[in-house]
């Protein structure tokens, strides 16, 4: 006897209750605080802020806690929250030339004004599990010195003085806003960069890596990678001038790419650019490589058909919230479509079977 499935509502409620219990885990173990996540899982917090497009470490930490550590789920929580926030206005463009750098390295010059600052990096750690951390995570205080004062000039500016690198002319055109206008092709560079800065880290990394392995190779050097805080200023109409409203930590990567010239451009170095919220250097470097690959058209290069050169392919598939939603939706009921496919396959099989019988008889 068939009884129509009722009680979807109760099933959902119970599933949510169970989920909450699983999230908390064993209650004999102390609960994680938002501050602990913010302070001790800060790179996860940074990724959530970057791909969630919302700079708020506490909210990102809350999202990570609520998402049981699933960062894409946490990014989704932040995006859904962000979209409900009213817009008071836009900040002035941030000036990364006045960044208070925690880290600043160049792979193209051994020494340069402003110096090389390694900063808190995993780069030269030996990846050995530190079993001491399992017992006691307290660390001795790291040596410190006074911060450098003054501006930190960009490496690309030195090259520019010699005319060796393409010009990046100042442009005051307001950039399009991906979160307020539908993404449409062709996308200009500002829009592409906007999409890339919130793009999935793994997807961006994979694409960037593919360019290094020959799918649209563009010979990138990290001209400069810098991480640090910059002031954010906003023009207050009532005051008539801009005031500082806070600080954000950014990672900026400028690549210098070899370029032997094209039909339209002379031989010179070209640029790829990455700028991402927080300490997120894998993402910033990846972004710069993909940005450079996407610029083939404006530089008069050949389209070799590489995935990273294809703006439509890259931009329509880089957003992990869109991707994960559409991917996972196939677990929702599809009885109706499947039923119509069943009927069709049965019909085609019946006819194919009848034809075979007929052929055998002939």
């Amino acid at each position: 006897m068939y009884v129509a499935v009722k009680g979807g509502e109760r099933a959902i409620e119970n599933a949510h209750a169970w989920l909450a219990e699983e999230r908390r885990g064993n209650t004999d173990i102390a609960e994680l605080s938002i501050a602990q996540i913010r302070e001790q899982l800060s790179l996860a917090v940074n990724r959530v802020m970057a791909e969630g497009s919302l700079y708020d470490p506490d909210l990102a930490a809350l999202a990570i806690k609520q998402a049981r550590g699933d960062l894409i789920e946490a990014i989704f929580l932040i995006r859904a929250y962000r979209t409900t926030l009213p817009r008071f206005g836009a900040s002035e463009p941030v000036d990364t030339g006045i960044m208070a750098c925690d880290r600043r390295i160049s792979a193209t010059f051994k020494d340069l004004p402003g110096g090389q600052v390694l900063g808190p990096t995993f780069d030269y750690t030996h990846r050995l599990l530190d079993f001491k951390l399992a017992a006691d995570g307290e660390v001795p205080k790291a040596p410190s010195r006074d911060a450098e004062t003054g501006n930190v000039p960009h490496v690309t500016e030195f090259l520019n003085r010699e005319g060796l690198i393409e010009e990046a002319p100042h442009d005051d055109t307001p950039p399009p806003d991906l979160t307020r206008e539908p993404l449409e092709m062709p996308a200009d560079r500002a829009l592409r960069l906007q999409a890339l800065t919130r793009a999935d880290e793994g997807f961006t990394l994979g694409l960037a890596y593919s360019t290094q392995r020959g799918y649209g190779r563009n010979h990138a050097f990290v001209g400069e990678l810098r991480i640090g805080s910059v002031p954010v200023e906003m023009d207050i109409p009532e005051l008539g001038f801009a005031v500082e409203i806070g600080e954000v930590i950014l990672t900026e990567c400028e690549t210098v790419n070899q370029f032997t010239g094209s039909k339209t451009e002379p031989p010179q170095f070209t640029r790829g650019y990455g700028l991402v919220f927080g300490q997120t250097e894998r993402k910033a470097i990846s972004m710069a490589l993909v940005d450079r690959a996407l610029r083939w058209e404006e530089l008069g290069e050949d389209n070799v058909g590489a995935p990273a050169q294809d703006a439509e392919f890259v931009l329509y598939h880089a957003d992990n919230i869109q991707a994960t939603g559409f991917l996972e939706h196939i677990k929702l009921p599809h009885y109706v479509d499947f039923q119509s496919e069943l009927e069709l396959v049965r019909k085609l099989r019946r006819e194919a079977g009848a034809q075979q019988v007929q052929e055998a008889a002939e």
């Binding site: 006897m1 068939y2 129509a4 499935v5 009722k6 009680g7 979807g8 509502e9 099933a11 959902i12 989704f76 995006r79 859904a80 962000r82 979209t83 409900t84 009213p86 979160t179 307020r180 206008e181 539908p182 993404l183 449409e184 092709m185 062709p186 439509e312 329509y316 919230i321 869109q322 994960t324 939603g325 559409f326 991917l327 996972e328 939706h329 196939i330 929702l332 009921p333 599809h334 009885y335 109706v336 479509d337 039923q339 119509s340 496919e341 069943l342 009927e343 069709l344 019909k347 085609l348 006819e351």
Partner: protein, 283 residues
């Protein structure tokens, strides 16, 4: 949930969506790009339909949500609860009582009447997408009314299988102009699209598109003179209400391959049972 606006979205966003809807109604079957927002449910769960519903709902509306034809599938329950909570609107499962019906994959069996709005959740709004993956190309094809590729695809089906091998999301032509994806409804539902008394709105959130059919629009399923379109369904009556004119779900009822067929439209089936119709599997 007082911290959110009526029907969740802020008024500016709703206004933007309404403009897209009006444009869609003015150009039936044309896909209007709109600045889809991140919703508190994932893309693929009906965010396009939810945004369209949020934009058209008024406090006086009565709202019905179906998924696969049924009011009690989990995602239909979830979306209905969302609007109960954020808009406080009355809800119903009765097709005729609803003023706004959000649906995934079905058109109700009971004919809709004037004043009703049917909101479809759309995963891939572009009927040409699987023939041409590039949006820049497909938009060009629509503007040039270049639909040859679609006819070639359908013709190839016929030459290979003897039939058009599309059983759901079967493409239609609207008022002799735009080829349109009717969302993944079974082709059984296609004849209901045309000449419908209700307004039909289609929302694709992830793909950022809205399109529409005003009441009494001509909608024709693509076919050939010698291979006319045929709406199909399982060749059985409903096991519960005995209906022979409704779309059926197939259920596996034991581990010996026993099956039964039941209306996918739960409201239609229950209403028939309430008026004494009985199928062979009814208690």
């Amino acid at each position: 949930m007082t911290e959110y606006n009526f029907a969740y979205l802020d008024e500016q966003t709703k206004r933007m969506i309404r403009r897209a809807i009006l444009k869609g109604l003015a150009i039936p079957g044309y896909q209007v790009p709109f600045a889809s927002r991140e919703m508190p449910m994932p893309y693929g769960w009906g965010t396009g339909g939810v945004q369209v519903s949020a934009a058209v709902l008024t406090p006086k509306d009565t709202f019905k949500v179906i998924d696969q034809g049924a009011d009690d599938t989990t995602n239909a329950v979830s979306i209905r609860t969302f609007f109960q909570r954020t808009a406080g609107v009355a809800t119903t499962t009765a097709t005729s009582d609803a003023t706004v019906i959000q649906t995934r994959h079905r058109i109700p069996e009971e004919p809709l009447h004037e004043g009703q709005i049917l909101v479809y959740q759309v995963p891939i709004p572009e009927p040409l997408r699987f023939l041409e993956p590039r949006e820049s190309e497909t938009r060009k094809m629509h503007s040039l009314e270049e639909y040859g590729l679609m006819h070639v695809k359908l013709y190839e089906d016929i030459s290979r299988h003897g039939h058009i091998a599309t059983s759901y999301a079967y493409p239609v032509k609207v008022e002799g102009r735009y080829v349109m994806d009717p969302s993944p409804i079974p082709k059984f539902d296609n004849p209901k699209l045309g000449d419908m008394a209700a307004i039909q709105l289609f929302g694709a959130g992830r793909e950022q598109r809205i399109y529409a059919l005003p009441p009494y629009t001509q909608v024709v399923s693509l076919d050939f003179e010698d291979h006319p379109f045929e709406a199909s369904k399982a060749d059985h009556p409903c096991g519960m209400c005995g209906a022979t004119d409704s779309y059926l779900d197939e259920l596996i009822i034991d581990d010996l391959g026993g099956r039964m067929f039941v209306c996918s439209d739960s409201d239609y089936c229950e209403a028939r049972q309430a008026t004494g119709h009985k199928g062979k599997d009814a208690a």
